[in-house]
């Protein structure tokens, strides 16, 4: 079961484990909101080492305001970036 629902605010874990990780560096530590709950997929961090990647992990499309990703972003406030992130990279966050 997916832990998060569309609209939930989440922060990407600021972690730097070795290995094959599909979480881009630039988005670690950033806060956004769940845009879509995608399917569950075998964990690529395990698949990369010949293991089965099970249990499958829920995958989310998380939308970030560009102005919250880049301190010097110069475009309009409505510009966003969507990144696919696995549940184990996300933490709950209340934006006040």
């Amino acid at each position: 079961m997916a832990r998060f629902a569309p609209g939930d605010n989440v922060t990407v874990r600021r972690a730097f484990p070795p290995g094959h990780v599909r979480t881009p560096y630039y988005i670690r530590g950033k806060t956004g909101s769940i845009a879509h709950v995608l399917d569950s997929f075998a964990n690529p961090e395990e698949l990369a080492f010949g293991r089965n990647g099970l249990p499958k992990r829920p995958l989310y499309r998380v939308r970030f305001a560009q102005s919250r990703v880049w301190a010097d972003y110069s475009g309009p406030a409505g510009d966003t970036i969507d990144v696919e992130l696995y549940e184990h990279w996300l933490e709950s966050e209340e934006i006040t």
Partner: protein, 197 residues
Amino acid sequence: MTMRSEDSVLDHYQAMELAVSALMIDKGYFTEADMVAEIDAMAKRTPDIGAAVVARAWTDPDFKARLLADGTAACESIDLDMGPTRLMVVESTETVHNVIVCTLCSCFPRMLMGIPPDWYKSKEYRSRVVREPRVVLKEFGTEPGADVDVRVHDNSADMRYLVLPRRPEGTDGMSQDELAKLVTRDAMIGVKIVEAP
């Protein structure tokens, strides 16, 4: 074994690719013929496939709704072979301009567009389009207004993304085939718009 020019020096990853593919063939996971056939099949795919999907979405509201809800299922319903690709289609509108990138490597909706262009795989595009998308778009001749949200999609994990560009004005009487000819690879990546004929 893939033939390489004898005067080229292999870098680390090229040498590793040769070693791994040789090992996989030795161990019987696939044959050399399988590998060649797969490369040939991928080389035959072109953006014409994606362009036909876009033109169909522009002219068939029911198909468009299904395409936006589940891109994979909608494409399979018109007999496209999607292989392992899980497709998400993002629609550009009067208020949203979408553009796709894979910052980690070169993920691309190959089943609909074939092999990505070299610039899509360049470090320059991959690093800059997430950080200054409007500057990069302008270099492609695309300038969304300040009232349009630019939405970058990083193909970072298991889904692949296709931009459904806006249908240009003045194309009301055109057939699906005529419309498909207007749709370019770059418009389905989102770095350009579809121009009226």
